[in-house]
Symmetry: C2
Subunit: 392 residues, 2 copies
């Protein structure tokens, strides 16, 4: 089988911007060979915040911004190609997550509020403005099959890290922390996934506040390393309701977000900057190890990704809390933490086009295997190229 | 080439309900073999009206109703199959227009209000709940290519009625009247399309009001036939700004809708029920013939479709105003007026899957040929069956 090329696009709920990765695919090997990051402008972020607001979003705004973002995603791809030695006709497909503007994982109020999710960034617009076929809008298919539409990247974790004999925990530390537990293949045990609690969210928020905007994160954990843990605060954090709940579970910015940090700062204003960051970093590390010890039967290796993998002190603390486990980062496996999600969507898109399952029912809660994704394509050459992926 | 089967789904801007048609396809011959019409409940209509309202629609409602309608569309397909002798595995594809909740054909206010359109009824949900692959969401691709996203059914008119030597006008009389002008193939003249003015909208509204809700339309034109034309009113209507504008042009419910009828009723309250209906029917007939004479070079045949084709008196009046032209209805060509749009989307979906252009740039204003449509599919068998359409 020859090599083919796919481009992954990720635009996360933080509304920061768009990550793109050009990926070389041979058999089931995925290698990032060029990347791009595009920040949203302040004005765009304001628009996107409004789109996510139940009070402010209108049908007209959603209608417009679906196309606007589609064009912006396309421009990101075209810029990525310009920086590389590739042309549109070299690329078999684009795979785009889209911008989430609403997500209802469980239904409650009334019969017209159903389990659903809304990602925008029109696939046909991306296809038309790049000349490449597009896969995207993955989450609704999982929900149609009874799942919560998340986590989707666990499937990529499986493709990248599933091992015949080793039990692995793939820990992402973004704003939120989440784990994909991959028991050894030969064990036939279920893959599970859940949010372990805060990732960098609390650390970043505290650094931003206490440095009065001078710093936005704790580089390599240098601040935390100078402090000592306050046991009272740590115990209070570890007693949080979310930590005590059993998986499957997910958390959002509402639980460990700004309000949470507000209250914490009021109560613990006697602690030094360094001690606070040290304690909250320890909390992040222990919330991870706590869940592992309580819910994951056996672990040989932990492989950490996301922004948190660049926090050396946090990694040390996780290692220290998991004595018999080998702790790695994604980079140790030649996978970029920064572009892991863009890569993940190339993998989902590739499997979709092969007509192979690209999700894990035991992770999302779907009742059975499904193909996740939709296709947008506006010219027959791109369509043909895209469908050749199936032929291998 | 063998026969294949597709199912078309149409849900119009009147928010009445869903029309479905099971269509047998052999070469480029399309034959409706089973149909279904499902009315929205009063509660559903209220939800949909709110979705179309810029004040009332929220991101949460759009997120939910996209899935809700997807499931309802799927149920429509499953009920259609139950009434037929076909099973899901006999059907190569579903083609769904979706429910339009916003449409911006021209952009104006600001850079975040762009040419765009929003159809809901999730394709993956339809696919998952039917087990059949789905094509849909056609309009954005046309807009991405610079078009207005409408009219789309002109392409179906071309497939069904394009003639080597005859010049044909395919006139739809729904709420609005619109024409697809098909010059003889061998002339190489451009196909054009535009709205001719009101279709049944004004007649229906007046009948409803003057019968105090007793009747909702003029059956076979029986009311109009008993009246006589009031020349003053007719002249005033023919002088309306929309009628005088040059194509390309489109009109919506706002121009000839309830407010328009309100004013007309106030000014002409001395006219009898029959004279009013007769005059407005004549206006509908003359607005069509006026445009033909002014903008269409040559016409050999007019082929009328839509609900208006069942109004015998209206057809007579059109024929009388177009002396040298032969007037037919769709039924004369064995095409059901009621399910013409559902059929049209089967045709669009079929061409899309063949990788062939399924729109007319000179009708929509797009800068070049494109494929319109997206694919939603959740199982590999359905995916494979769908892609076999390409092979013929």
């Amino acid at each position: 089988m020859g090599k083919i090329y796919g481009i992954g696009l990720m635009s996360g709920t933080s509304l920061d911007g768009i990550d793109g990765a050009l990926v070389e695919i041979s058999e089931n090997n995925y290698q990032i060979i060029e990347t791009i990051s595009v920040n949203y402008t302040e004005e765009e972020r304001r628009q996107l915040f409004n789109l996510c607001s139940i009070e402010k979003a209108t049908n007209k705004m959603i209608c417009s911004m679906n196309m606007y973002l589609g064009e912006k995603f396309a421009k990101t791809v075209n810029d990525l190609l310009k920086n590389s030695q590739f042309k549109a006709e070299d690329i078999s497909f684009i795979s785009s997550h889209g911008q989430t503007i609403y997500h209802i994982p469980k239904s409650n109020d009334n019969k017209y509020t159903v389990v659903s999710t809304l990602q925008i960034g029109d696939l046909s617009m991306i296809a038309e403005k790049t000349g490449i076929g597009v896969v995207g809008d993955f989450r609704t298919a999982d929900m149609a099959a009874g799942g919560q539409g998340a986590p989707l990247t666990s499937f990529a974790d499986k493709v990248l890290f599933y091992h015949e004999t080793k039990y692995r925990a793939i820990q992402n530390i973004g704003g939120i922390g989440n784990v994909t537990y991959l028991p050894a293949k030969q064990s036939n045990e279920n893959i599970i996934a859940f949010d372990t609690g805060p990732g960098n969210m609390m650390i970043d928020e505290l650094v931003l506040r206490m440095s009065k905007g001078g710093q936005s994160y704790d580089e390599n954990g240098n601040i935390a390393r100078k402090g000592t843990v306050d046991d009272l605060l740590l115990n209070e954090l570890m007693a949080e309701e979310y930590i005590r709940e059993s998986p499957p579970k997910t958390t959002g910015r509402e639980v460990f977000g700004k309000n949470f940090v507000d209250k914490l700062l009021q109560k613990y204003n006697h602690l030094s900057f360094e001690d606070l960051i040290c304690t909250v970093t320890e909390f992040t590390a222990q919330s991870i190890s706590f869940h592992y010890k309580k819910y994951l039967k056996q672990i040989d290796e932990v492989i950490i990704g996301g922004g948190g993998s660049y926090n050396g002190y946090l990694i040390e603390r996780i290692q220290s809390n998991l004595k018999d486990v080998q702790v790695f980062t994604h980079e140790d496996f030649n996978v970029s933490s920064d572009f892991k999600e863009a890569l993940a969507f190339v993998i989902l898109g590739h499997y979709f086009l092969k007509g192979e399952t690209n999700m894990i029912p035991t992770a999302t809660g779907a009742k059975h295997d499904v193909l996740l994704g939709k296709i947008g394509v506006t010219n027959s050459n791109a369509f043909e190229k895209m469908l050749k992926v199936k032929e291998g």
